[in-house]
Symmetry: C2
DNA sequence: TAAATGATTGCAACTTTGTTGCAAAATAAA
DNA sequence: TTTATTTTGCAACAAAGTTGCAATCATTTA
C-alpha cells in the first residue's frame, strides 16, 4: 500500500518524498537484497544517482534497511523488520548469497549463533553470511 | 626470512618478483588484515597501483590470502594458513573488526559454527564477522 | 488556504577506486 | 647466455562515490 509506505517514513521522522517512497517500495516488492546499482537500474530515469546514495544512507541511519557484508567491494541493503530503529537493530538473522544467480536472501528464521571472542574483546554485532547455491539454482 | 617468502611463492608456481615478495612480507609482519589502500600507502613509491591490484588477485586465486567481507565497500585481505591452496581454503575461523581502531583480526582459534539453511539451499562457505571493541580499545 | 520555514533534490564538478591494452623490463627455462 | 614467458608500469579509461549549492518540494505555521 502506498499509505503504508508513507507511514514507515513518518514513523521515522522523514518527510515523504517521491524518491523515498519509490525506493522503499522497491525493497518491499523484492524478496532479496538490493545493491545501489540495482536501485539505480530500476529508477535511473526518475532520480539522480546522488539522491539514491543519500536515500540509502538515511534509511540505514534510521534503521529502515540494514547492510549485508560482501567480499566484492559492494554493499547490499535489505529491509529491516519493524522493531528496528536508530541505533537498535534486531536483524539477527543469517544471510545467504547464491554464487550462481547472485541473489541475496535474508534468512529471517535462522538466527545468528552466539560466537565466542577472546578475553578483552567486546561483541557489538555478529554477521553471518553463507554462500553457495539457492533453492532455485541447486 | 626472505627465503621463506620466496618459498611460498615458488610452492604456488609464482615467479619471485620484488612486488610479490614485499607485499607478502607486509602480510607476514602485520597481525591484522590489510586493505588494498593499506598496502598502497606502505608501498606506493615502490609499486604501481595496478601491480598491487594484480598481486592481491593472484594471491587470492592461489590461496595465499583470503578475503574478509565488510559492510563498507572495501575488501580486506589476510594470510591463509599453510594448508590452503587453489580452490581449497581452510580458513574456517571468525573475523573481528574493531569499530574504534578499525583493526581486523583473524581469530584463528575460533571456528565457524555450522549454520542451518532452508531446504534446497546448499552451503559452500560460511563467513562470520564480529564487530565491536578489540582488547586494545575496550 | 497561503506564506514561511526547513529539508530534500538535481546538477556540476570533482575525487577515489578499479580495469584494460600494450610495450618495456624482469624472471625463468633452455 | 640466449630465448621464451611472465610480470610490470604507464596511459587512458570506466565506474563508483562525494561535496557545495541553488532550485524545488514538503511540512509547519498563521
Ligand atoms: Mn537481512
Ligand atoms: Mn582470516
Ligand atoms: Zn541462485
Ligand atoms: Zn581496536
Amino acid at each position: 500500500m502506498k499509505n503504508e509506505i508513507a507511514e514507515i517514513l513518518k514513523r521515522n521522522q522523514l518527510s515523504v518524498t517521491d524518491s523515498r517512497q519509490k525506493i522503499l517500495e522497491l525493497f518491499r516488492h523484492s524478496n532479496s537484497a538490493l545493491a545501489h546499482a540495482d536501485i539505480e537500474k530500476q529508477t535511473s530515469e526518475q532520480f539522480d544517482r546522488v539522491t539514491i546514495y543519500r536515500t540509502l544512507q538515511t534509511f540505514v541511519e534510521k534503521g529502515i534497511v540494514h547492510t549485508i557484508p560482501t567480499t566484492d567491494n559492494s554493499v547490499l541493503y535489505a529491509l529491516c523488520k519493524d522493531n528496528c530503529s536508530e541505533g537498535h537493530h534486531h536483524d539477527d538473522h543469517v544471510h545467504f548469497i547464491c554464487d550462481d544467480c547472485g541473489t541475496t536472501y535474508c534468512l529471517e528464521h535462522i538466527t545468528i549463533p552466539k560466537v565466542e571472542v577472546p578475553q578483552g574483546f567486546i561483541t557489538k554485532q555478529t554477521d553471518v553470511v553463507v554462500s553457495g547455491q539457492c533453492d532455485k539454482c541447486s
